[in-house]
């Protein structure tokens, strides 16, 4: 199923999506482009290469209330706060970000216990993926090709969006996506030529030049386990690391969180919020024991978690090569070259 609309009528599309329910889309402000909950149809933009922050916030918000309570003398009763009520659309996710959802699913829905908050949002959210058109060049920090992700991969999206000359092509991938496109009656039918363009773009996306090395996930997992005990290597790599949480907070596949009770006078919420394995007190136990007191141990944990442990546990690399961590690292630590060095050690 292929539909299209002129780029000039993008606002109309947004208007229609907004009328259906909550919509997350990339918005440009004075600091760059980021996903936001859209209020006005004029806000979203498709003119960007990559968003600064990852779109994971639509499913895994930085801060999410789990339970509401009111402190009482006898029994304090807690009430679970259920997920979103409205079906949501997230528009404009790049293929690597779409891929991250499947990686996160393994954790949040696996291990024998489903996370109801993640599940609810996954169930009710339509993903509109957004392929990288040929003229948009990677910016030097990303390496999604290393992770075998094409610049115009549509897997994982419900609807796949691609720019073509003055048009926006919209391909319905899943039943849900096709249903959504069916509702948007103002869209035009895509032509055969559009179809060919789309197929070619998807194929071409596979060869898009980003930083690349030949990554064999299982071999990397084993190699990193072997390198794990090489403290000298990790100390050198972590030399500049200031142990802030930037890399994990902007990462589309970092899932660690903390839970805390926030009480104001008597009313409170039990809330979960992003936490980072890079923080000193992440693993600090109440006894005072900290298994990872040193910076290099924490950096090692992060790298190994993504490129070794996750592979061993779930069979996939927990990284999509979006390059955000590299781009925003205050001291220019680069996960790509670090892993390449470790694997080739």
């Amino acid at each position: 199923m292929l539909r299209k609309i002129e780029q000039g009528r993008f606002g109309e599309l947004i208007e229609a999506l907004l009328a259906r329910g909550p919509l997350y889309a990339p918005v440009r402000d004075d600091r760059g482009v980021n996903f936001q909950l859209i209020r006005k149809a004029s806000e979203p933009t498709l003119d960007f290469y990559n968003t600064l922050q990852s779109p994971k916030l639509a499913w895994f918000p930085q801060s999410e209330d789990l339970i509401r309570y009111r402190l009482a003398k006898g029994e304090t009763k807690g009430e679970a706060i259920s997920g979103p009520v409205a079906p949501t659309v997230v528009l404009g996710m790049r293929p690597w970000d779409v891929k991250s959802l499947a990686i996160m699913d393994l954790l949040f829905l696996g291990g024998g216990k489903e996370d109801p908050y993640w599940l609810e949002k996954r169930r009710l959210t339509t993903v509109i993926g957004y392929g990288l058109a040929s003229e948009e060049e990677p910016d030097g920090a990303d390496f999604f090709r290393t992770l075998n992700i094409g610049a115009a991969d549509s897997d994982g999206s419900d609807v796949f969006l691609l720019k073509k000359d003055g048009d926006l092509l919209l391909e319905g991938i899943t039943e849900r996506g096709k249903g959504l496109l069916g509702e948007l009656t103002f869209l035009k039918e895509g032509t055969e030529e559009d179809e060919r363009y789309l197929v070619a773009a998807k194929a071409g996306g596979k060869d898009r030049k980003t930083r690349f090395f030949d990554l064999d996930a299982n071999a990397a997992a084993d190699k990193l386990k072997a390198v794990f005990a090489d403290n000298t290597f990790w100390e050198k790599e972590a030399e500049g690391c200031i142990s802030c949480g930037t890399c994990t907070f902007v990462c589309p596949t970092c899932h660690c969180f903390d839970i805390a009770d926030e009480t104001l006078f008597r009313d409170g919420v039990r809330r979960r919020f992003w936490d980072a394995c890079m923080f000193t007190d992440f693993t600090l136990e109440a006894s005072g024991h900290n298994p990872r007191p040193r910076t290099f141990q924490r950096l090692r944990q992060k790298i190994c978690h993504k490129y070794s442990f996750y592979i061993e546990k779930f069979g996939v690399v927990s990284c999509v090569g979006c390059g955000r961590c590299t781009r925003l690292c205050p001291v220019n630590i680069d996960i790509f070259s670090l892993v390449a060095r470790a694997v080739n050690l």
Partner: protein
């Protein structure tokens, strides 16, 4: 102005020399990152390591942040203007010993923040071209900036109180609580930081606007009279909160009220652990 390339050469040479003679255990400087525009903080421990040192306009990091973690070692630190002020401030605070430090002074102007592409000058956080204290100077002294580093505050100061609050509220709301600002700051060496304390809990643990506000205001206060305007917090911030503006304003207040700028003289005492009977009550008005 000495070319960056020449500074780099001298830096390598000096580092090699110091390491070879065993005068220092290590040299904190800059090394190559994943590309030219993205150097990394680098610790040279051997004279072979010294070959890997680089210096270019993107070497903005304030290495005092690493030096403060090694108070007992004899170390050499590459220090630009503000970085040397940070070292001085840390010496004042008893965190570092002057005799343990070899300060490799680098007069530098025209440093560039790779992320924003902005050139660092007195309008941002590059007011001091020359190191204030050093053992060796790796380039020729530069003329100091003509404009006051505080001029940039004019715009915010011109706003009404409500306008300023609106400005800061929006900025604090962006905060991710990644704590890159405090981790990048050479003056933020508290362990544990007040934000990591659970009793008392000074602010929400979760990233709420109120908690963010509390965090930033308290951090600003903790840096009052200590901030050397190196701008690391602002460059480290992944959401580009202009923290330096608040720090600058407090530095300006301290200069006006107490007649002292942070990290300028080894014999000074930080303003908030000091007082003068003549301070007078006017400062409270």
């Amino acid at each position: 102005m000495t070319a960056f390339k020449d500074i780099e050469e001298r830096l390598k040479e000096k580092a090699k020399d110091l390491l070879e003679k065993g005068e220092v255990e290590c040299v904190f400087a800059y090394g190559r990152g994943y590309d030219e525009r993205h150097p990394r903080p680098y610790v040279a421990k051997t004279k072979e390591d010294a070959e890997n040192l680089v210096f270019n306009e993107y070497c903005t990091f304030n290495l005092a942040r690493y030096a403060v973690k090694e108070p007992r070692k004899k170390i050499a630190v590459a220090a630009k203007g503000a970085d040397s002020r940070a070292l001085v401030q840390l010496i004042q605070e008893g965190k570092l010993k002057r005799e343990n430090l070899v300060i490799l002074g680098i007069p530098a102007a025209g440093m560039v923040d790779a992320k924003s592409g902005l050139t660092l000058d007195e309008k941002t956080t590059g007011a001091f071209a020359n190191p204030v204290v050093y053992d060796v100077l790796l380039g020729d002294k530069l003329p100091e900036a003509k404009n006051s580093p505080y001029e940039v505050l004019g715009e915010l100061e011109g706003l009404s109180g409500d306008g300023r609050w609106e400005f800061w509220r929006k900025e604090f709301a962006r905060c991710l609580r990644c704590f890159a600002c405090r981790k990048a700051c050479p003056m933020c060496y508290c362990d544990p930081c007040f934000m990591d304390q659970s009793r008392p809990r000074w602010a929400d643990k979760s990233p709420t606007l109120d908690g963010n506000t509390m965090y930033h205001l308290t951090r600003f206060y903790h840096l009052a009279g200590r901030c050397v305007d190196c701008g690391e917090c602002t460059r480290a911030c992944p959401v580009d909160i202009p923290l330096y503006l608040f720090h600058k304003r407090l530095a300006k207040d301290c200069e006006e009220m107490f007649n002292q700028a942070a990290g300028m003289k080894l014999e000074d005492k930080p303003v908030l652990v000091d007082f003068r009977v003549e301070d007078g009550d006017e400062i409270l008005l």
